[in-house]
């Protein structure tokens, strides 16, 4: 394994680590942080720990700017949330914001230095059409996608095709569940909606209950198939647990909730790797409860290897000979969990052969 592969993770976990970096090491750290989408987070962590003053000036300006831009995104996001609430006002349905938008709306510490591209909301399935129509009246329009993707979303996914605002180009993903309809695990979306609560930003902008937020975050760690943002996702997971986990009652609710929502396995993996890689504190009393989600030894063994690879920044300095294989396997695994085998074969065949062909035909026209 390349010796630099842990530079970013170490610096985020222990900012004191940066006090002794030379310019070449800083150079690499900035590159890895950019690639992993964690430069603003790194600036935030260094600032909190009092290490930013020690950062050499030519490096500091990159970090300062990254956090400045992230904060501007948050400002824009709060405004965007207000526009969305305005658009769906007439629809009688809870609007639950997810992921980055939820962290900002709830004012959680994990939002600091978090960058994101889209706004994700969860709504009752039977209200999807009313909400889509309401958003369209306020300028959001379905992004242009081909017929296959259209069907992929409508028939198999847990969300409708993304909507883009015609003037602002902001994108909103409207979900009716947190995992695809075809996925291995089937969390009951009604329970998630029922447990949701008003956010600090605006009572109409709801967010998931703490344990559900953590479980949703855990599903992201291992269902995406994309490794670009894996470390960022693990840092979200760690940040949520550090925040909510100070309340002992939280842990007592978390594990039974994971069983009810069929998410014990993702929770097991999340806790395993967050505590191993980021030192996330897990109370001793919770250790036995984790066992519910524990897979058999050979599976655990291979996942440990995949995770060690997948949670590195996607940068050449972190790669070894086996990294491409690991990323490919994680991609396959992400899809494997999202859909049954027959559908997976069909989907990957389509993505590999038919989509590019259709694109080429369109271009040559």
């Amino acid at each position: 394994m390349p010796s630099d592969a842990h530079l970013l993770r170490q610096s985020l976990c222990d900012p004191a680590h940066t006090a002794h970096l030379n310019e070449i090491e800083w150079d690499l750290l900035i590159r890895q942080a950019r690639r992993a989408g964690l430069a603003p987070r790194l600036r935030h962590v260094l600032g909190e720990a009092g290490y930013i003053e020690r950062t050499p000036e030519p490096i500091r300006r990159h970090l300062d700017t990254a956090l400045f831009v992230a904060n501007r995104h948050h400002e824009a996001l709060r405004w965007e949330i207000a526009r969305i609430l305005e658009a769906v006002e007439a629809v009688d349905a809870p609007i639950v914001f997810l992921k980055g938008a939820a962290y900002v709306a709830a004012g959680l510490p994990v939002a600091a230095g978090r960058i994101f591209s889209d706004v994700d909301i969860l709504v009752p399935k039977e209200k999807i059409e009313a909400i889509e129509a309401a958003l369209m009246q306020y300028g959001w329009a379905p992004m242009k996608i081909n017929a296959y993707d259209q069907r992929y979303y409508r028939q198999w996914m847990h969300e409708i095709p993304p909507l883009e605002h015609v003037r602002r180009q902001s994108v909103i993903d409207v979900h009716h569940n947190i995992l695809p309809l075809t996925a291995r695990y089937h969390p009951d979306a009604a329970l998630l909606l029922e447990g949701s609560r008003p956010s600090a930003l605006d009572p109409r902008a709801r967010v998931l209950a703490p344990w559900d937020m953590v479980l949703h975050c855990a599903t992201h760690l291992f269902h995406e198939g994309e490794t670009n943002r894996s470390l960022r996702d693990l840092i979200d997971f760690d940040g949520l647990l550090r925040h909510f986990g100070t309340d002992p009652a939280f842990w007592d609710t978390l594990f039974p909730r994971a069983q009810i929502l069929e998410l014990s396995r993702p929770l097991f993996y999340g806790l395993r790797y967050a505590s191993r890689l980021l030192g996330t504190p897990v109370p001793e009393s919770a250790r036995h409860a984790i066992e519910h989600g524990k897979p058999m030894l050979p599976i655990r063994f291979s996942m440990d290897w995949l995770a060690a690879q997948g949670f590195r920044p996607n940068h050449a300095s972190c790669a070894d000979a086996l990294t491409p294989l690991a990323h490919f396997l994680l991609y396959l695994r992400g899809h494997w969990l999202r859909m049954p085998p027959w559908l997976l074969v069909r989907h990957l065949f389509h993505k590999a052969f038919i989509t590019p062909k259709a694109k080429a035909a369109k271009l040559s026209r």
């Binding site: 310019e23 070449i24 700017t65 400045f68």
Partner: protein, 305 residues
């Protein structure tokens, strides 16, 4: 140490191997490439630029490379990579050097948000800066190249970097990009000017880059105070004509053409308002470069400031 201290084989070896750390104004960029046209362009046009000492931090890591596969032989192409990330579609192989220049501009405009970055040329005299914003085709680059060959210091031909805290402008001092007929106009206006490789049939027509003066490069760390905003317009057979340009309008034009105005928010607005308030704003129509040089000399004459 300046780049010209390297022999051409040392230069090619550095670019092909670990990369060359080039200092342009406030930025250090590590460049790697094996493409001969790019190596030649860098050797010619960045000869006076300093190299960063071994072991320094680089703001940007860029590579120019040839895509793998059939494209090696069939209509060969060139790719610009920012670290592991490819921000643009490939271009024809002959456009390697212009692609490097466009890529370097992109590095600055998409990362250096500690500046308000305007799309404008900017030159300096006696510590004061003249900003030349203009849509393509208005002769902005031609005028900028002419001024730089007549004693004005080049800060940049494309990117005006305003420090929102000090209100001053930092220099880039990179090669000036000239297009189509401008190339020959400047060649005859300034026979001593040094040009890099000519790239035909780019998105902007034929493109060549002019080497910045050694003085501009040596003084690239000196900021300048904004003093004039001049919207140039080349009009055939026109006498040189300088007319006041409404300040409110200038502000709106800058806001629309800035690369990162919306990223900076209030900080950007304040910086822009201050810049406009302290600058005289003009429209300038001209047809002969000598007339333009005379008009600019009058503006910058010590008694006029």
């Amino acid at each position: 140490m300046n780049l010209s201290h390297l022999s051409s084989s040392e230069l090619a070896r550095a670019l092909a191997g670990p990369g060359l750390s080039l200092r342009t104004g406030q930025f250090t960029t590590r460049i790697q490439t094996r493409i001969p046209a790019a190596v030649e362009g860098i050797g010619t046009l960045y000869a006076d630029h300093p190299l960063a000492p071994e072991g320094s931090f680089s703001d940007f890591h860029v590579r120019l490379l040839r895509p793998a596969g059939l494209r090696r032989w069939y209509h060969p192409q060139v790719l610009f990579a920012f670290d592991d990330f490819i921000p643009f579609k490939p271009l024809p192989y002959d456009h390697a050097f212009p692609m490097l220049e466009w890529g370097l501009n992109w590095c600055v405009t998409s990362h250096a948000h500690w500046y308000l970055i305007l799309h404008a040329a900017v030159v300096e005299k006696n510590g004061f800066a003249a900003i030349l914003p203009a849509p393509p085709g208005s002769g902005k680059s031609t005028l900028c190249a002419a001024l730089v060959n007549r004693g004005w210091r080049l800060l940049s031909d494309e990117l005006t970097l305003i420090n929102p805290h000090s209100g001053r402008i930092d220099a880039l001092a990179r090669p000036v990009s000239l297009k189509n007929t401008s190339i020959d106009i400047i060649r005859s206006f300034a026979p001593d000017a040094v040009f890099g490789p000519l790239a035909q049939d780019t998105a902007k027509g034929t493109v060549a880059h002019m080497k910045p003066s050694a003085d501009s490069v040596a003084r690239a760390h000196e900021p300048a105070t904004p003093r004039w905003v001049i919207f140039p317009k080349y009009v055939p057979d026109s006498p040189p004509l300088l007319t006041p340009h409404p300040k409110g309008h200038a502000l709106i034009q800058f806001a629309e053409n800035a690369f990162n105005y919306s990223v900076l928010g209030t900080l950007g607005y304040d910086a822009l308002a201050r810049l406009i308030a302290q600058s005289d704003c003009f429209d300038f129509t001209y047809s002969r470069l000598d007339d333009a040089i005379a008009t600019f000399a009058d503006l910058a004459a010590p008694h006029a400031i």
